[in-house]
Each structure stands twice: as C-alpha cells, then as structure tokens.
Symmetry: C2
Subunit: 242 residues, 2 copies
C-alpha cells in the first residue's frame, strides 16, 4: 500500500516543505533581482543549506522551470480564452503572442534561458517552450487559413520574436515602449497585406524569403574590406568557427 500505483515513493514531509519554501523565496528573489540572482543567496534567505537547494533544483533552469510551472497554467487559460473567444484569427494570434511576451518577462533575464531552451532541447524549460510553440502554430495556422497571416511565416520564429520583444524590454530599463514597438513591428510583419492586391510590385512579397540582404548588397563584398561585416553571407550559421 505504501507505493501503490506510482513507482516513486512519496516525498518526505520536510523535503516537500523545504521545496515549497525555496520556491516561495526564489519567486520573490528573482522578482527583485532578476533571473540571474545568486542561488546561494536564495538558499540563505530560505534558511536552508546550499546543498538542499541544489538537490531539489540541480540547475538554475530547473528552478526557473519549477517557478514557471505555476504561470504555465495562466498561459494555458489564456490560450483557451483566445480559442473560444469570438476573435478573428489574426487578433487571437496577436493576443497569444502578447501573452507569451508577458510570460517571458516574468523575471528580468528570463528571455535568455528561454531562448536557450528553445534551441537546445535539453533543458527543463524546453518542453514548456515546445508546447507553447505548438500552440503558436495552431493560432498561426488558423490565421493563415483565414488569409490574415502570410503563409511563409513559421510558428517557432513568431515565438522567438515574442521572446525577443520581451528581451528588449529587459532589465527594467525600457524607458519607453520599445518592446511594444517591436511587437507591433512584428505584427505588421506577419500580417498579410490588407486588401486584395496579392501580386503587385516586387520589393516585398515574392522573392524575399531567401534573404532581405541580397536585394541590396550589390557591391559590398568587393572593395570596402574583408568579409567581416559585409558578408552576412546568407546563413553561414554563425560568426565564430572555433
């Protein structure tokens, strides 16, 4: 009867209490000092040893993931609300991306780990991110079927752009609405052109998928300098080889 169905034994009462208390303290601490605040300080403030903290949460990301788990519920609720609401698909997608932006801004410095988690796939945060990307995809597809979102936009990129908007806001230094501006910019970016005019001119719509640069860089690589800045060579993955 002790173990019953689940394979794992129930956690000891004091362990559970410690865990919860650490979570409480960490919530406050990260809110005040950002997601890069000292973990030892959290342990001390919680009145436990460093070992206790690290046993419960082996890495900073594990702690963040546990903290975010509570907020996940809110985001899920928001998703359901947007789903069932009478909004058009474009507004639903916009609302969802705003919700992600707010979620990622829960603590200063949180967008960084989230971005890493989105890309590495080996972090406690990864699953959460992937789930939200899937939801983004759902909203995006609806908007694309509706014709209100461009068809060459990817959900993952929209998710990352929401993270980026949150990152811009970062560090409590966003004096003005730059993050809002970036969101706005992005929204105009994924939205289809309002009226019928589908083919029209040339500049923006048809050939651009490859790279915006190519249109401009007629002369660059040749004279100015070496390949440093000018290059931008398509997508050589990164600037650092070593």
């Amino acid at each position: 009867m002790t173990k019953s169905t689940s394979g794992a034994r129930a956690p000891r009462a004091d362990a559970q209490r410690n865990r919860d208390h650490i979570l409480d303290v960490a919530e406050q601490y990260f809110s005040a000092h950002g997601a890069t605040g000292s973990l030892d300080a959290i342990a001390k403030q919680a009145g436990v040893g460093a070992g206790t903290l690290y046993r419960h949460f082996p890495t900073r990301e594990a702690l963040l993931a546990a903290l975010l788990a509570a907020r996940d519920d809110e985001l899920v609720a928001r998703r359901d609300q947007l789903r069932s609401g009478s909004l058009n698909p474009a507004d639903a997608l916009g609302g969802w991306l705003d919700a992600i932006k707010a979620w990622a801004g829960a603590f200063d410095g949180l967008p960084g780990p989230l971005r890493a988690a989105t890309m590495t796939d080996s972090s406690p945060l990864s699953l959460t991110c992937e789930g939200f990307i899937t939801t983004t995809e759902e909203f995006l597809h609806a908007a694309q079927r509706d014709g209100s979102a461009r068809s060459d936009v990817r959900a993952r990129d929209l998710f990352l752009s929401a993270l980026a908007a949150s990152w811009i806001e970062g560090a409590a230094l966003a004096d003005d609405g730059s993050a809002a501006a970036l969101s706005d910019l992005t929204r105009h970016g994924w939205a289809s052109t309002p009226s019928r005019t589908s083919d029209t001119t040339d500049t923006t719509d048809t050939t651009d998928t490859t790279d915006t640069t190519d249109t401009t860089d007629t002369t660059d690589t040749t004279d100015t300098t070496d390949h440093r800045i000018t290059g931008h060579d398509g997508e050589r993955t990164r600037g650092k080889s070593t």
Copy 2:
C-alpha cells in the same frame, strides 16, 4: 612644447604596446569564447597582470567598445556605400539594418551589452549606439519620404530590432535561419503596404498605430513591466472588452 595643443600627454610606449596586445588577444578570445569570456584569462593569455588589463579597460564594456571601434569603420563605410548607391530607400534601410545585425553579432553575447548601452546612456558603447541610431533615422526618414516605410516607425526601435535579431542568432545555437526570419518579419513590419490601397478595410494602414495592439487585449504591452504576470488574470475577467 611638450604638451602643445592637447591637454593629455602622449602615452608611454610600453603602455601603448600592452594596450594593443591586449586588444589583439581579446579579439581572439571573445571570438572563441563569446563576449562573456573571462577577463582574467585574457590578461593571462596576453602575459600581463590583471591590474594592467583593468587599468586600460576598466570594465568589460570598455574593452568591447575598444574592440568594436575598429569595426565601426566598416559600418561607416557600409553606410556611405548604401548612401551613394543607386538603391531605393527601402532597400538601403534594409541593408543598413542587416549590417547592424551582423555588427552586433561579432561576438556571442554582444547584443546584451549593446542593448544595455542603448538604454542606459552611461556606457562606453552608448555613443556608438546612438550614432548608429542616428544613421538609422536618416535611412528611415528617406524611406518614409519615399512612402516605402510606415510613418509611425521609430529608428530606435528598428535598431533594437536588429539587435534582437542578432540576439536570436546568439550562442552558436541558431540551428536554422531564425534570425533571418526575424529580420524578414521586421522588414515586412516597417514596410508600407506595397500597392495603392490606402483606405480599404482597417487593419493596417490608416489607423494602424493603435489598432493592432489593443484589439485583442488591453492586457499587457503597456504596463506589464511592474505588475508581473499575475496581474494578468485580474484583467482577464473582463478580457472580452473588444
């Protein structure tokens, strides 16, 4: 006559030599380990004491600024090239933003300090950033006069969005072209709608500044900053105000 016109005395030969050598080593080291690499390690690798490094470059940002100074020239050259080229204003602005993105991606982790510098105004990097924002403004105004950029877009936000695109690419983990996608998204964001269609429906053109943001939810964008996410559900009750 020793001092002549300038107030400062010429630097001692050994000091200058050390400075240059530190810069060389730092360039390599940051390229290999990112802009957050250990400064002491750079000092050791350069064969100087930590004190020497910190005297020349009191902060990490000072070192980065000195390193970036060389690249500034390239960016200025690019600017002139784009200016004098026969490009339309939209492509010139696009090319300029791509150049900024590449510049900010010189080292892993560089976008962070750059963003901070853009906002704090008290960093060695601030002046450089402000200068580039001014240039962005120039290109943007040309595109706006030309009618190829929306009139409610601000240069600072475009600069930040280029930083954000670089940030997305970050950490050598950008497996796919997400950064390019974000640039692309942004470009569609600031561009005016291709054809004539001025009045039409309502979504983008005329009253656009306001509508995108608050159609869905008056919730976040503006005051997310200090209320954290929890406030979210307070407003959610009414949510449907749209």
